[in-house]
C-alpha cells in the first residue's frame, strides 16, 4: 500500500513538473501605468518609463536591397518600381556577435516603429540586428513572396526563410556567433513557423526564439480586428464622419492649448484633456488602421496574381494612373473578405485544402502545438488584455508553453513592449 502511495506521489510529481505553470505577473508589482487596453495599444508606454536607448546616429546601420523575384521587374506595373526589390535594415556590431532577426507585424514594413525600437534595444545589448518586413506588407508581397497571398503561415515562413538566407549571403564577412529570432504580433506567428522550418532546413539553428503577442487562432484575431470598426461611436451622424469627429477633437485640443506641439507626450496629454477618446472611439481608430492594412493586402495580392477582383487583370497602369477607384474598392474588403475571396481559393487549389476550420488549424499556433510544447528554446510573452485574443487562447498558451509563457496583466496589443520591465525580460530571455 505504501508502495502504491509512493507511486502516486511520484506520478503526481511528474505531472506537476510537466504542467509547469506560466509566469503570471501580477498587476501590483508590474506597475504598468495604462490599465486601459485600448489606450495602451495606441499610445504605448509613457516616455519616462521606457528603457534608455541609443540614438540612430550612434548605430552603424544601413538599408540593403535584395532581388528575389526578378520576373516581377516585368510583370508588375511601372508605379511599383519602388517595391521590385526587397529592402531590409541591418545594424552591425564591429566585432563578433550574435545576430537577431526581427519580423514585423501585420502590414508593417521593416522600418515599423516597434521594429525600430526592438532594434535599438538589441543593438545596445550587443547583437547584430536584421529588420524584416512582414510577409503581409506591400513591399514583401511584391518583391519576395512567391504567391503574394499571405495568410498561409507555412508558405509565409518559406518566403521569410529565403529572405533570411539571402540576407546572410549578402554579408559573408559579418562575424556572427549564433542566430536568434523574434517577431511581434503576426510577425511572432511567422517566427514560430520559421523556427519550425529551421528544424529541418538547419540553415541557422536558432538558439532562442521569442514570440511577442502572437495571434493564437488567426481567425479569432482577424475577426476581432474586423469587428473593431463596428463599435457604436458617439458623435457620428449624417453630417459628421468618424475622421471629421477625430479631427474636430484634435483642432479643439490644439486651440485650447494655443499652439501645435507634436511630441511623444502628446497622446497622454490628449487623453487627459476634455477631448479624450472613449473606448469605442479608440477601438474604431485601431480597427481603421487595420482596415487600411487589409485594403493594401487585398489590392496588392489581387494585382500581382491578376485575379480581377479589385482591378481588371489587363488594366493599363502607368506612373500617372489614378489608383483611387481601386483604393475605393479595396477599402470595402476587410480581412474576412480577403481570406474568403483570395486566400481560401488559392489554398484549396494548391494543397487540396478543404474547410475553413482545416485552414485555421494549419495557419494558427495550433498547427505547431507539439513542436512548441517540446521546444524549450521558444518562449512567448503575452498580455491578459490583448485585443487580438479570444476566449480559451490563453489557456492554450498555458498548456503548450508552460513556464515559457510570461503573461502580463496589462498592455493591450503590443503596448507594453517598450515598458522597461518587458524590455529587461526580453534581454534576459536571450541572455539565457
Amino acid at each position: 500500500m505504501f508502495r502504491s502511495l509512493r507511486l502516486v506521489a511520484l506520478l503526481g510529481g511528474l505531472l506537476m513538473a510537466a504542467a509547469a505553470s506560466a509566469r503570471d505577473i501580477d498587476a501590483a508589482s508590474y506597475g504598468y501605468p495604462l490599465t486601459n487596453p485600448f489606450e495602451a495599444t495606441i499610445a504605448t508606454t509613457p516616455p519616462e518609463q521606457r528603457p534608455t536607448l541609443p540614438e540612430d546616429d550612434e548605430i552603424d546601420q544601413s538599408d540593403y536591397s535584395l532581388t528575389l523575384r526578378p520576373e516581377r521587374e516585368f510583370t508588375l506595373p511601372d508605379n511599383f518600381w519602388a517595391v521590385k526589390k526587397l529592402r531590409y535594415r541591418l545594424a552591425k556590431q564591429d566585432h563578433e556577435a550574435p545576430l537577431i532577426f526581427l519580423i514585423a507585424g501585420t502590414g508593417a514594413p521593416y522600418s515599423s516603429s516597434i521594429n525600430e525600437y526592438l532594434k535599438k534595444l538589441f543593438y545596445q545589448a550587443g547583437y547584430h540586428v536584421v529588420q524584416l518586413s512582414s510577409p503581409t506588407s506591400y513591399d514583401f508581397m511584391s518583391a519576395a513572396s512567391r504567391f503574394a497571398t499571405p495568410g498561409v503561415s507555412r508558405e509565409d515562413a518559406e518566403d521569410l526563410y529565403r529572405v533570411m538566407q539571402a540576407v546572410r549571403a549578402q554579408h559573408p564577412r559579418l562575424p556572427v556567433s549564433e542566430y536568434y529570432l523574434s517577431g511581434y504580433s503576426l510577425g511572432a506567428l511567422d517566427a514560430a513557423f520559421v523556427s519550425h522550418l529551421d528544424e529541418t532546413r538547419r540553415s541557422f539553428n536558432f538558439k532562442r526564439v521569442l514570440l511577442l503577442n502572437p495571434p493564437v487562432n488567426l481567425y479569432t484575431s482577424i475577426s476581432n480586428l474586423d469587428k473593431l470598426v463596428q463599435t457604436r461611436v458617439k458623435g457620428i451622424d449624417r453630417g459628421t464622419t468618424f475622421y471629421e469627429l477625430m479631427l474636430e477633437k484634435l483642432t479643439r485640443y490644439f486651440q485650447d492649448k494655443g499652439y501645435i506641439d507634436l511630441n511623444e507626450a502628446l497622446l497622454y496629454d490628449f487623453q487627459k484633456s476634455r477631448q479624450h477618446l472613449s473606448n469605442e472611439q479608440m477601438a474604431m481608430l485601431i480597427g481603421t488602421s487595420f482596415r487600411f492594412s487589409a485594403a493594401d493586402i487585398a489590392f496588392t495580392s489581387d494585382l500581382i496574381n491578376r485575379r480581377g477582383l479589385i482591378i481588371p487583370p489587363k488594366y493599363p497602369i502607368t506612373e500617372g494612373s489614378s489608383l483611387t477607384p481601386f483604393f475605393k474598392r479595396a477599402l470595402q474588403c476587410d480581412f474576412d473578405c480577403y481570406l474568403t475571396e483570395q486566400v481560401i481559393p488559392m489554398w484549396r487549389a494548391r494543397t487540396d485544402g478543404n474547410s475553413l476550420l482545416q485552414l485555421i488549424d494549419q495557419v494558427s499556433l495550433y498547427g505547431l502545438e507539439d513542436y512548441l510544447h517540446n521546444s524549450p528554446k521558444i518562449a512567448v510573452m503575452h498580455n491578459a488584455d490583448d485585443l487580438i485574443l479570444g476566449p480559451g487562447d490563453i489557456g492554450f498558451l498555458r498548456r503548450v508553453f508552460g513556464d515559457r509563457l510570461t503573461l502580463y496583466p496589462h498592455g493591450g496589443h503590443c503596448g507594453n513592449l517598450n515598458y522597461r520591465v518587458n524590455s529587461d525580460a526580453m534581454l534576459e530571455f536571450f541572455r539565457g
Binding site: 495604462l34 486601459n36 487596453p37 485600448f38 495606441i42 499610445a43 504605448t44 546616429d57 519602388a82 507585424g105 502590414g107 514594413p109 522600418s111 515599423s112 506591400y138 476581432n224 469587428k227 470598426v229 463596428q230 463599435t231 457604436r232 461611436v233 457620428i236 459628421t240 464622419t241 475622421y243 477625430m246 479631427l247 474636430e248 484634435l250 490644439f254 486651440q255 501645435i260 506641439d261 502628446l266 497622446l267 497622454y268 476634455r274 479624450h276 473606448n279 469605442e280 474604431m284 481603421t288 488602421s289 482596415r291 485594403a295 493594401d296 506612373e319 489614378s322 489608383l323 483604393f327 477599402l331 491578459a384 488584455d385 490583448d386 476566449p391 490563453i394 489557456g395 498555458r398 503573461l407
Partner: protein
C-alpha cells in the same frame, strides 16, 4: 502601427460639427470602464466584451468616412502622380544620400546650429504672417524669439528662446490666405518641394519674395552670390523633415499623403 496612425491623425483637422463635451479627467489611468473587466478562468480579460457594438455588425462607418476623405479636388492628378514618382526617385537617389553624407561629415552640434540658424531666418516670414493675421500675442512672442536668438544666440546659431518657453510657431502666407478664407484650390505636387495646393504655392512665392526684400542678416543677398547657402538650406530642410517616401508602405501612399497634407494645413490654419 496604430500609434503611427494616431500621430498621423494628430496632424489633421476638420470642419465644424458639434460633438459632446466631456468633463476633463484627472488621470489617464482611471480611464473609462475597463477596471470592471473580470478575468476568465485562464486569466483572459476580454477587452472587446465591454465595448458597445452596432447590433447588426453591418455599420459602414469606416467605408463612409474613408470614401468621403478621398474626395479631394485634384484635377491635375495624372501630372501630380508623375511628379510624386519623380520626387520619390530624387529623394532616394540624390537627396537622402546627400543628407546621409551631411550627417556623416558634420558633428551633431553643427547640424543643430545650422537648423537653428535657418529657423531663425524663417521667423521673419513667421512674424510677418502672424502680424497679417492680427495675432498680437503670437507676433510678440515671435519678435521676442527673433531678438533673443539673433542677439544672445549669436545670429541664430543657438536657440535660447525655446529654452525660455517661447516655442517656434510657424506661420506662412498660405496660412494667412487660408485665415482670410481663401480656398485651397487644386491639389498640386511640386517638384522637390512635394505636396502643396494652389493657395499654398502662391504663399510660398510670396514668402520667398518677402525674404528677399527684407534681406535679414544679409543672408538672401549673400546667397545669390553663393548658391551653396541655398543648397545647405535645402539639405537642412530635408534633414529635419522626418517623412520618408514609402514609409506608409502602401500602394495608396499618394492618396494618404494628399489627405494628410490637406488636413494638416486646415489644422495649422485653424489654430
Amino acid at each position: 502601427m496604430v500609434n503611427r496612425l494616431l500621430l498621423v491623425t494628430a496632424l489633421l483637422a476638420s470642419g465644424h460639427a458639434l460633438a459632446e463635451e466631456v468633463a476633463p479627467r484627472t488621470s489617464v489611468v482611471e480611464a473609462d470602464n475597463t477596471a470592471s473587466l473580470t478575468a476568465e478562468s485562464d486569466g483572459f480579460l476580454d477587452p472587446l466584451r465591454e465595448l458597445k457594438f452596432n447590433p447588426g455588425l453591418d455599420q459602414r462607418e469606416f467605408e463612409r468616412s474613408t470614401l468621403a476623405a478621398l474626395n479631394i479636388y485634384d484635377p491635375l492628378e495624372s501630372m501630380n502622380r508623375r511628379i510624386y514618382h519623380f520626387n520619390y526617385r530624387f529623394d532616394q537617389w540624390v537627396f537622402l544620400p546627400v543628407v546621409d553624407g551631411y550627417r556623416y561629415v558634420t558633428p551633431g552640434f553643427v547640424r543643430t546650429g545650422v537648423s537653428n540658424f535657418f529657423n531663425n531666418l524663417g521667423d521673419v516670414p513667421n512674424l510677418f504672417n502672424s502680424v497679417l493675421q492680427l495675432k498680437g500675442e503670437r507676433s510678440a512672442q515671435i519678435t521676442a524669439r527673433l531678438m533673443f536668438n539673433t542677439i544672445i544666440g549669436v545670429g541664430g546659431l543657438w536657440d535660447p528662446a525655446t529654452k525660455m518657453g517661447l516655442a517656434r510657431q510657424s506661420e506662412d502666407f498660405g496660412q494667412t490666405l487660408g485665415y482670410y478664407g481663401v480656398h485651397e484650390g487644386p491639389y498640386l505636387v511640386l517638384p522637390i518641394f512635394g505636396p502643396s495646393n494652389l493657395r499654398d504655392t502662391t504663399g510660398l512665392v510670396v514668402d520667398y519674395a518677402g525674404e528677399q526684400a527684407v534681406n535679414y542678416l544679409d543672408v538672401p543677398d549673400t546667397a545669390s552670390d553663393h548658391p551653396e547657402i541655398t543648397l545647405l538650406r535645402a539639405v537642412d530642410k530635408r534633414y529635419t523633415t522626418n517623412f520618408r517616401y514609402g514609409q506608409t508602405n502602401s500602394p495608396f501612399e499618394y492618396e494618404k499623403v494628399r489627405y494628410v497634407y490637406t488636413q494638416a494645413r486646415k489644422l495649422q490654419i485653424s489654430e
